[in-house]
């Protein structure tokens, strides 16, 4: 090794060591619990004395436990008396049988010293930054402007963000990079804000200074592409997919939710409202259809249709997923571990997990194959009838009845799913899904509130005529409440059968009789039953017709989309804790409550999901705004201010720029009223963002992760962007928005669904070329090239896509017909010009950069090689490219060049 470097490193190490020792040993300095003590405890003690294990009755997870009396009868920590504390004594113990950490290396003297000093100073148990509110911070005063001469305004300083960044850069061998050239920043902005390369006119207007940087940013933020781009990020969090997941993985209609996200982002719906509608849209007063669609955020959970699976087990699985996802998405908190035990590191207790889960345990969905509840989307004709019914009920009934009818027409809830039947005689739960009674069969549906209704709505289908159904109160000898005959149906029907008015909760004993059918065959398959209060206005002219219209509307097949609907009071479930996270091992009953370590619950909030949304969006919640700021920052810079974007807490990295994080969080809430566009605009307007990402190896090595932002962000584009960009520059991209997922070309036999007959049917026309956000996503077999570029299968919430760099990616962009077709279409545009100008045009079209002579030279050579090969080889020239009619060697060679351009790192990355 170079001697000079060696001694330099030695010197550096000595200085660092001295700094460390000084920080640690400075006697007067008050010890910071969060920064100095908690990490030592977490690293060395908590594995045995923490949330999972509490050896000797001692835990260092919570203050009360750490200060309390252990099994020995003593406290480990005596505040004010370090040397007298058992903790310190055991750390210094020489006998390895007694020394802690047990059977591990002794802690360093410096660490023990630190702990002792902390106890001497009173052993104050500090709060972690993540659980305290963002602090109002003054803007940093930058003394040297990191090497820029004072007096003249630094070109780096564009807004207040830059002051925070510069302040952290000071004292390091770093200084801000120059501003990126206009063409580079124009492309970076367009890709970051809309996921697409810039429109040529807009690009020209900006690069010729016809419009300002800010106008350029505003224009991009106003484009509909903005919502489509940022939706991919949110849909990862929301685990949005077009299939139900698990083994069968059948299709489902969730796309209106995806469209809702795109619209909400484009309209810049404030994040608090965006949050509330998704978590509790159904609980808002008189929710709109859009607000109901928004609740599908939590219907993106998987749904298990596999025969033999217990619907309740998978209902519980969705409730757990909703709990975990809510905390991961809004609170940067991985709460899942607490399901089984108190969190080993974060101060969230075992019971608190179930308190949180209780918020999600009272929705109507029960893992049924029909995915009820679904919002019903009526066409204009039927909608007229729906309106008539609603008007009638409003006119003749009270507000409660009006609401009940309106709800039932909207989503057909509340209803009782008959998979909850038990005590079967001569009958079964067909495929563990539907009530199937044989001749002389019976089953019991417990705890039913019949709403004093004189009719029951029953959904069923049957292949037999003449099955007599009797429903009795409570048991086989009970009073007959209803008796009717079921005949063969053409598919599923909803029938209205008379029912004896009863009050209160009863058990329904359901019997079937049909001597004419073979033994052990189902008289019918019953899906659900509902008890709706009687239609008001009896005796009024038109009553009968209105009743008929109602039933007809219910039986009208219309598009339906899963939503969340809360249980009415009489259907409320109690929530119990599970032992070790096992849903079958239920223990204590718990109430809805949020973790004590976070903000306090306000009395005015309803104790349901709506209250939870209010708690999350309260300006007293320390994590919501910070989480959003951190994740948006990560989207733009490829790194979070807290690098562990999944987690903010005692296990997370400390923020690289704590003051900036808090400043942005407060600004988002107080000045921007939760506007995401305003947050994004703040960041991209900064000088920090506008820097060039070009650097040299030595500078790069100082901060390889770019955590101090002495250069602009440079990352490979995301899966969706790579495809969208290829289609955009070749002119193939369709700008059609919304609607069901599309199926662009993918290789044969990628879908191998054993249990479902569902197939990948290649989309026609412009649907082949829609933006990637509209591509059909089958969870067990996502679109292959997206997976290769690190998109996920969206079975659960994905906070971060790990960016990889693999040969398989090269194979996609080189060989996937989608990319070849894009190359061909770019080549078509290149061929109008002479060779050099054509190549330069293609390159510039793709990269928004003028081609350098040596690059042109390289590409021209590739063109020439290709051309001579296509000319000399008659067989190949017919085969390539496999699009369009023109098979000239010239066009084929240009296609090869275009394919090469679209494989350049500068094309696949934003610089």
């Amino acid at each position: 090794m170079n001697k000079k470097t060696g001694s330099g490193i030695l010197l550096l190490a000595t200085i660092l060591m001295a700094m460390y020792l000084w920080r640690v040993l400075k006697p007067a300095e008050k010890v910071d619990f969060s920064a100095d003590i908690k990490p030592i405890l977490n690293k060395n003690c908590i594995a045995c004395h923490g949330g999972v294990k509490k050896n000797s009755g001692l835990s260092f997870l919570f203050e009360a436990e750490a200060m309390g009396v252990a099994e020995s009868g003593k406290s480990a920590i005596i505040p004010g008396n370090g040397s007298g504390s058992e903790l310190i004594r055991r750390l210094r113990e020489e006998d390895p049988e007694l020394r802690m950490p047990y059977q591990k290396p002794k802690l360093s003297d410096a660490e023990i010293e630190l702990l002792e000093r902390w106890i001497d100073q009173g052993a104050e148990w500090g709060e972690h930054w993540a659980y305290t509110l963002p602090e109002k911070v003054p803007l940093p005063v930058v003394s040297q402007e990191a090497g820029f001469s004072t007096g003249t305004a630094s070109p780096f300083l564009k807004n207040d963000i830059d002051l925070f960044v510069l302040a952290r850069m000071e004292g390091q061998p770093l200084r801000p990079n120059a501003e990126a050239p206009p063409n580079i920043i124009a492309r970076r902005l367009a890709l970051d804000l809309t996921g697409l390369p810039p429109d040529q006119n807009l690009f020209d207007a900006f690069t010729t200074s016809e419009i300002t940087y800010e106008t350029y940013v505003d224009t991009l933020l106003a484009q509909s592409g903005y919502g489509e781009k940022w939706a991919s990020w949110w849909l990862d969090l929301a685990r949005y997919a077009d299939t139900k997941g698990y083994e069968k993985d059948l299709g489902r209609s969730m796309w209106p939710y995806r469209d809702w996200v795109i619209r909400a982002l484009n309209q810049d719906m404030p994040y608090d409202q965006f949050t509330t509608e998704q978590l509790a849209g159904d609980l808002l007063p008189d929710p709109s259809v859009d607000q109901l669609i928004a609740t599908a955020f939590h219907r993106n959970t998987m749904n298990n249709d596999e025969g033999g699976t217990d619907d309740e087990e998978f209902r519980v699985a969705t409730v757990i997923d909703r709990t975990n996802t809510t905390f991961e998405v809004w609170q940067s908190t991985t709460i899942g571990c607490v399901q089984c035990h108190s969190h080993p590191y974060d101060p969230i207790k075992h019971e608190e997990y179930y308190n949180a889960m209780a918020f999600f345990n009272n929705s109507r969905d029960e893992d049924t194959p029909g995915e009820e509840p679904n919002v019903r989307m009526y066409g204009p004709e039927v909608q007229k009838e729906v309106d008539q019914i609603n008007t009638w009920v409003a006119e003749h009934g009270n507000a409660k009845t009006a609401k009940a009818y309106k709800n039932f027409l909207t989503h057909m809830e509340p209803k009782y799913q008959l998979h909850n039947c038990e005590e079967f005689t001569n009958g079964e739960l067909a495929d563990t899904k539907w009530l199937a009674l044989w001749n002389k069969g019976s089953a019991l549906l417990k705890n039913v509130y019949t709403n004093n209704a004189s009719a029951m709505y029953l959904s069923y289908w049957s292949g037999n005529n003449g099955s007599k159904i009797t429903i009795r109160k409570d048991d086989a000898k009970g009073e007959i409440l209803s008796q009717f005959t079921i005949d063969k149906t053409n598919g599923r029907v909803i029938e209205k059968v008379p029912f004896k008015k009863t009050n209160g909760k009863i058990d329904l004993y359901i019997e079937a009789q049909n001597n004419a059918i073979a033994p052990e065959t189902a008289t019918s398959f019953m899906v659900w039953a509902a008890f709706l209060e009687d239609l008001p206005g009896m005796g009024k002219p038109g009553y009968k017709a209105m009743e008929n219209t109602f039933l007809k509307v219910l039986n009208t097949k219309v598009p339906e989309f899963p939503i969340v609907v809360e249980n009415p009071e009489y259907m409320q479930r109690t929530t119990q804790m599970f032992e070790r996270g096992n849903w079958q091992l239920k223990s204590d009953t718990v109430e809805v409550k949020t973790p004590a370590v976070l903000n306090a619950w306000e009395v005015a909030w309803p104790k349901n999901r709506l209250g939870l949304a209010q708690w999350i969006t309260s300006d007293q919640n320390p994590l919501t705004a910070r989480t959003l700021v951190n994740r948006v920052w990560h989207q733009l810079f490829g790194r979070g201010i807290v690098a562990t974007i999944e987690d903010m807490g005692t296990q997370s990295d400390p923020p690289s720029h704590p003051a900036l994080l808090d400043w942005l969080a407060l600004r988002l809430m107080n000045e921007h009223a939760w506007s995401m566009k305003a947050l994004i605009k703040d960041i991209v307007m900064s000088g920090t963002y506008r820097q060039s990402s070009a650097t040299d190896a030595a500078t790069y090595q100082i901060d390889p992760e770019n955590q101090w932002y002495a250069r602009g962000p440079r990352q490979r584009l995301g899966a969706e962007q790579i495809r969208d960009q290829a289609l955009a520059v070749s002119g193939l991209l369709s700008d059609k928005m919304y609607g069901p997922g599309v199926m662009p070309p993918q290789p044969e036999k990628v879908w191998q669904s054993v249990y479902s007959g569902e197939q990948w049917v290649e989309s026609k026309g412009e649907d082949k070329f829609r933006r990637a956000v509209y591509t059909y996503l089958k969870r067990t077999s996502p679109y292959p090239s997206f997976i290769t570029f690190d998109a996920g299968s969206r079975e659960v919430c994905t906070i971060r896509r790990t960016v990889t760099n693999t040969p398989l990616q090269a194979l996609v962009t080189l060989n996937d017909p989608v990319y070849l077709e894009a190359a061909y279409h770019l080549a078509l545009k290149m061929q109008a010009l002479d060779i050099d100008r054509g190549i330069a045009f293609g390159y510039e079209k793709a990269t928004f950069t003028k081609i350098a002579p040596e690059k042109l030279e390289i590409l021209r050579r590739l063109y020439e090689t290709s051309l001579s090969e296509f000319q000399s080889n008659a067989a190949t020239k017919k085969a390539f490219p496999n699009f369009g009619k023109d098979k000239s060697p010239h066009l084929a060679a240009l296609t090869v060049v275009a394919n090469a351009i679209m494989n350049l790192d500068e094309f696949l990355s934003k610089a």
Binding site: T699, Y700, L808, N903
Partner: protein
């Protein structure tokens, strides 16, 4: 900037970078012993371009993160084949013979064993379930093996058993993550990634770390069990399909010759090198290498993944089913891959979760079929490696993510229709064979009913420490700096299991 100037700049920059790198290696090497620095910098440069005269001081690892590196300690062992039975196979029907358990069959499990224990599905007081297979002692080593594995008996003297492995995870996903990454939570690199990072690959035309799955499903924990965690992504496992195209888009479009593809990639990479000069982003170098590798993979992968060309007797030996996805095919592929110099081959076979809820997962029925599916191929694998002289340079590891209870599972406290065993992390069996491993050894013992290890208990970290040791690493020194601290595969634990080393 003209070419010469660029080259000079590049050289200066390279030297600067090399210093940093040497410093890094020095740090590692000081603890790692005789790491041959030279191997880092010498060797062929796969990207050298004679035409442009760009013979630069690119180190192998910069241009090719999979360039071969010698381990710090001498080792003959170059490759690993890791056979993971996903779902957790029952040691009590395969290797851990417990005659006492047979005598106690159907007796209630003693309370003393249940106190303070929790199980995934067992409730109340379960009954003990005697071994659901016959056992015999075989080979010179006299190991007990069940009749579920008749072929395996032939190679019993090649392997070393670990009879008292334990884990603290009792659900599949976390336990698989733990077994393969040393942590039950997401985010750590898998063993295969560590090994490929540490040793590179012998074959630059194939991925260094290949994953093959069978049994109809991928592991519960998903692709993270072969993920690279915080290591560079190039070290993650590449899943190859044993039916259909082994890797999607591996075929060139019709009409594009190999030469033209080469010219295309050369052009792309030349331009990317310019880009690197401007941005100094190592991802660009990695991409250059990935394109080279993609080109070579296009030939090498279809070749190596094609088992049709193997001689008939070899196919029969493994019991392969060409065109299907099977453990047998994967075992043969594993041999072919290590023969070609692939560093780490990871096989996952799904379907070992013998709860006894139906025929397929009953320990006396479905488990027998699963054993039959692996018995012949894994035996053939050992024999085939041996006859080719590859066994000495290959470590073969077999195991699951945990074991199964000596008690019969009683879901919801009820007797179930089939015989099954619940998840059990306290004691289970794994085996290793091949280079560096003591033939015929057996380490560790469980109690009379196989509930817990009473002697020679080894942890998941110990397994990892041993694997790394066999490959020539000291697991305590083999670290990667991430988020301000050095990380190891074995975290802060692990001890080499010397008892099974040759």
């Amino acid at each position: 900037m003209d070419n010469m100037e660029r080259l000079i700049k590049e050289k200066i920059r390279r030297e600067l970078e090399a210093q940093t790198r040497r410093h890094f290696i020095k740090q590692c090497a000081s603890g790692m012993g005789g790491l041959a620095l030279g191997s880092f910098f010498l060797g062929c440069d796969p990207l050298k371009n004679e035409q442009k005269g760009m013979k630069m001081a690119f180190s192998d690892r910069d241009l090719n993160p999979l360039a071969t590196m010698a381990p710090p300690f001498d080792s003959k062992v170059k490759n690993i084949i890791y056979l993971h039975m996903a779902g957790a196979p029952s040691q009590l029907e395969m290797f851990d013979y417990k005659p006492e358990l047979r005598k106690l069959h159907d007796q209630p499990c003693p309370q003393s064993l249940l106190e303070g224990k929790k199980f995934a599905f067992i409730r109340g007081t379960p009954k003990l379930l005697g071994p659901q297979a016959e056992f015999s002692q075989v080979g010179e080593s006299g190991h007990w093996v069940s009749d579920n594995l008749p072929h395996f008996k032939k190679v019993i003297d090649e392997v070393a058993f670990l009879k008292a492995v334990h884990t603290d995870q009792f659900n599949h996903g976390p336990a698989q993550l733990f077994m393969h990454t040393g942590s039950p939570r997401l985010g750590r690199p898998s063993i295969g990634s560590w090994v490929t990072y540490g040793l590179g690959s012998e074959n630059q035309n194939l991925p260094g770390f290949v994953v093959l799955t069978s049994g109809g499903k991928t592991p519960d924990a998903g692709k993270s069990v072969w993920g690279s965690g915080f290591l560079p992504s190039v070290y993650q496992g590449v899943q190859c399909r044993s039916q259909g195209d082994p890797v999607l888009y591996i075929e060139d479009p019709e009409g594009i010759s190999r030469n033209l593809k080469k010219q295309t990639i050369d052009a792309i990479n030349q331009i990317n090198k310019d880009e690197y000069a401007k941005y100094a982003d190592p991802e660009i170098l990695a991409r250059i290498n990935q394109y080279e590798m993609a080109y070579r993979m296009q030939i090498a992968v279809p070749e190596v993944m094609n088992i049709n060309n193997e001689p008939e007797h070899i196919k029969q030996m493994y019991g392969v089913e060409p065109g299907k996805e099977s453990f047998a095919n994967n075992c043969l592929l594993a041999r072919k891959l290590v023969e070609q110099g692939v560093r780490f081959v990871q096989l996952f076979d799904w379907g070992w979760d013998s709860h006894g809820t139906d025929h397929d997962n009953a320990v006396d029925l479905g488990l027998r079929n699963k054993c039959r599916e692996i018995d012949r191929p894994m035996t053939a694998l050992l024999l085939d490696l041996k006859q080719r002289g590859l066994l000495e340079e290959t470590l073969v590891v077999w195991g699951g993510e945990f074991g199964r209870t000596p008690m019969q599972e009683n879901r919801e406290g009820k007797k179930m229709g089939f015989k099954g065993r619940d998840h059990h992390g306290d004691a289970f069996t794994m085996w290793m064979a091949g280079g560096g491993i003591k033939k015929g050894a057996s380490h560790g013992q469980t109690d009379a009913i196989g509930f817990a290890g009473v002697d020679g208990r080894v942890s998941v970290h110990d397994i990892h420490a041993t694997i790394l040791h066999v490959l020539g690493f000291d697991h305590e020194q083999f670290t990667f700096e991430f988020q301000g601290r050095p990380f190891r595969l074995t975290d802060v634990e692990g001890a080499v299991i010397k008892e099974i080393l040759a």
